[in-house]
């Protein structure tokens, strides 16, 4: 499944588009950055409520394709610009973690 199918989910606001043609692997949910860093699969879509600069650093180092910020969490503009630079997509949604992860799963990412 390509990242672009997730970027257009109706409940999500697109904050950084990353590389829409990238093939994504799995959906992964975690808020503890040390665990996310060691467990997030490469090319995954990572759902979290942790929205700070370190979230992007972890995503970048773990080769995550897309960060989905749940519960209305956002990232500051500087961090979003950096995400764009690094080719990592960022979405924001008001949905809880489970609900958005399920939607991504049902969109074709199991």
């Amino acid at each position: 499944m390509e990242l672009k199918s997730i970027l257009t989910l109706p409940e999500c606001t697109l904050l950084a588009q990353g590389n829409p043609d990238r093939t994504v692997s799995k959906v992964f949910c975690c808020d503890l950055l040390s665990i996310a860093m060691s467990k997030a699969p490469a090319d995954s879509v990572w759902v979290t409520v942790m929205g700070n600069k370190n979230t992007l650093a972890v995503a970048s180092l773990a080769d995550v394709a897309c960060i989905v910020l749940a519960e209305g969490v956002s990232l500051d503009e500087g961090t979003l610009a950096k995400a764009e630079e690094e080719g990592i997509a960022v979405l924001s949604t008001t949905l809880p973690v489970f609900d958005i992860a399920l939607e991504i799963y049902e969109a074709g990412l199991s």
Binding site: S34, N52, L61, A62, D63
Partner: protein, 140 residues
């Protein structure tokens, strides 16, 4: 590559949000050198955890990365307070990180265990009051 490449990074101790810049830089260099993706990921994760530790606990320090045909070696040296009980610090879940660090999603006592897990060779030496040096190797 036939020669060894060495890179040095000074890790600033006061800016938690900048932690990761050195690891990102190493990651990009390894990519340019055409190093295998799995080895890059291991190196990046191990080094980032080390960087975070240096910022949280040791007021920064110095990281030296040497890349050869066969191995990526990272030496992380600080002049922080040192670790009294290394075996305790190596236990997953044991942490002395302050609350503000925990609120950012770190400080869960996973740093040193992750560094050991993602490196092929891991060595730690620490003297209370003098500092800590961690040496990690990822074989290529």
């Amino acid at each position: 590559m036939s020669e060894k490449l060495t890179f040095q990074y000074v890790i600033s101790g006061d800016d938690f949000t900048r932690a990761g810049e050195a690891s990102s830089s190493v990651k990009n260099k390894l990519k340019q050198l055409g190093v295998d993706d799995a080895a890059i990921r291991k190196t990046a994760i191990a080094m980032y955890e080390g960087e975070i530790n240096m910022v949280i606990h040791a007021n920064g320090g110095m990281i030296t990365v040497t890349i050869s045909d066969t191995v990526i070696e990272m030496i992380l040296a600080d002049q922080g307070p040192g670790i009294k009980d290394i075996s305790k610090a190596m236990q997953a879940g044991y942490s002395t990180a302050p609350e503000e660090v925990r609120s950012l999603g770190f400080g869960a006592g996973m740093g040193l265990p992750n560094m050991k897990k993602f490196s092929d060779e891991f060595q730690i030496e620490s003297t209370p009051g003098v500092g800590t040096t961690v040496t990690m190797k990822v074989f290529l």
